[in-house]
Subunit: 363 residues, 2 copies
């Protein structure tokens, strides 16, 4: 959808403005509530927030996160870094070992051009440090050494390995060691998380740098992080991303706010037409893999007795009785990241579904 | 990625031009081979091709398909119809019962504005016909009555039902019956397909209209369609879409060219960096759910001994030995539809990976 199409109906309801369906909308109140809730959470726990912008890749959402006091933004790739830098952010963290020549050349150029620009990335190997050293300009690439775990994604598998890579980074020309990073998102129990956070704290003690940064991520365990890392002698940079729109599926189930005061609210909703009711109990809805996420749970109908069974490119098979072709249905989603990346322009709506703004994405 | 970024390196290799990775490229030779191959196939079998543009939603690819003699284009939604109409196509088929008010208002407007514009859509119920009648202008909405099957997607479940809906459409003001449609794509054996095509032919005999159109779809069974429907007294409109880029996964396995002379060639390829090699036998590659399809088979490495195990938003877990961070790997994909919708701009390349053009998408 083009930006002008949505802007043309500012103040009108999305149901009256001639928009085509399916349509994903962003609820402004929920979005702003979530931004404020996480800003308060990190403030109360003495942490900093570097929200993962890969979730939304949206200038409008990033601006709200920064206005609420975020340290800066996290991204996953150099391409995302370049895009997000264009949003006007001064502090960027790429939560990966960066090896992309074009991306590193760009980052070195930005560091040279703008003394206020801060750029952090991860390393987990001597080879990764060498790549950075090769592309560094006058200002060094600041890095966090990543601690992983057996069976996990990237990151050093042992503290010994981490200390070795840290020492290597400390002596590498063009590279400056800034701290330690980890990712607890894939862990399934609080006990596993505590154990992993313990290893990260140990790593912080081994890796001696001034103004130590310790970055952790995810939107599932920040309550445990807040409790466990409170006494750590480092700036805690939390990279949560999905919190900003929350959802009706995976994160509804896994949010730390299920275990503490407060709440996040689902900000994304997909509206789609019943296209066909070909058999009793079956409706074909015009919402497919192009419109709503399906990788971590299917969309959740906001009407009792209506269940999404499976999805194809442009259709959902829905179990329901009494629906008729032409009826509009609302669905919550599961997994915000794979919701945003299906849309280029989304209406931002008030509780009456009046369009109060646009949310553009930049994937 | 912005158009200018790719156009700026026309004539250069994608590996030399300062592009960031991951990157999906379109191989021009394979694309043009596939367009020509299918154009020849339908010509040889006395059929017409209305390629499903939902696959790519790209003006550049649509132009090639039309130049090769396609009847027009198929789309899945009214939004896609509007976009594709902007590509300059005069004949459009929406392969669904259309109930979207904005979409129907647009279509009625286009029919009124341009006498040369042809617009076809499906119906499978009286309710669907009623919706069309409500939005019709002076020129009627031309419809194909859809025959489905028990357990399938949309479409009338029996011939009796189809005949009833056809009769209803024939008398509805603002609606004109043009023929019959079906979708054999979900069927798993040639025997099932033959049986279903037999029912479609029966439907054609029951539904008497002049210049009868019979539309069938998919990229898995057009060989059987070509043989079975050869004597049918109707214009056969084939809606295949995925053929145009083919793939290295699902369609490689299921293409009719496995059963007859000729071949399609995979035109899509994703290149991505090894970001980390944290354990022996494991590499983390910078290609995730945002970059390559994962819904119908994972990407297929173009190097022996390299296997994609699973994907996250921005990463692939790859089983391989001897890789180093910074190395570039090439992957074929499975399922073109969910490959194109992840990219806004793709370099079109020659066999030496020199950029010879751009392929833009419009999702």
């Amino acid at each position: 959808m083009k930006e002008g199409v949505v802007q043309a109906i500012l103040g009108q309801s999305v149901f009256d403005g001639g928009l085509e369906f399916p349509l994903m909308v962003v609820h402004r109140d929920a979005l702003e509530h979530n931004v404020a809730t996480m800003a308060a959470f990190v403030r109360d726990h003495g942490m900093e927030l570097a929200p993962h912008a890969k979730t939304h890749m949206s200038a409008e959402i990033a601006a709200r996160q920064l206005a609420a006091g975020a340290w800066g933004l996290t991204v996953a790739t150099p391409r995302q870094a370049r895009v997000v830098r264009g949003f006007g952010v001064d502090r960027l963290m790429v939560a990966n070992q960066v090896v992309d020549p074009a991306g590193l050349a760009w980052a070195a150029g930005e560091l040279a051009r703008d003394p206020a620009f801060e750029f952090l990335s991860f390393v987990d190997s001597e080879a990764g440090v060498d790549v950075l050293a090769r592309f560094a300009g006058d200002r060094p690439f600041r890095v966090l050494v990543e601690l992983g775990r057996e069976g996990g994604r990237a990151g050093c598998r042992t503290l010994d390995e981490l200390v070795r890579v840290a020492a290597y980074a400390q002596q590498a020309p063009g590279v400056e060691l800034a701290g330690v990073a980890g990712y607890e998102g894939g862990l399934r129990t609080a006990q596993e998380v505590r154990k992993y956070l313990g290893a990260l704290q140990e790593a912080v003690e081994y890796v001696r740098v001034r103004n130590h940064i310790l970055s952790v991520g995810g939107s599932e365990w920040f309550d445990v992080i807040g409790r466990e890392l409170v006494a750590t002698q480092a700036t805690i940079l939390l990279r949560s991303g999905a919190y900003v729109t929350h959802d009706d599926g995976f994160y509804r189930e896994h949010t730390p706010f299920n275990r503490m005061e407060g709440e996040l609210r689902p900000a994304l909703e997909v509206w789609a037409h019943v296209l066909s009711t070909p058999e009793p109990g079956l409706a074909i809805v015009g919402m497919g893999k192009r419109d709503a996420p399906y990788d971590d749970g299917l969309p959740i109908a906001r009407r009792d007795g209506v269940t999404v069974l499976r999805m194809q490119d442009q259709h959902a098979y829905v179990r329901a009785h009494g629906l008729v072709p032409g009826e509009l249905l609302a669905f919550g989603i599961s997994h915000p990241c794979t919701a945003f990346d299906k849309w280029r322009m989304l209406p931002l709506v008030d509780p009456d579904y009046r369009v109060v703004g646009t949310i553009s994405t930049n994937f």
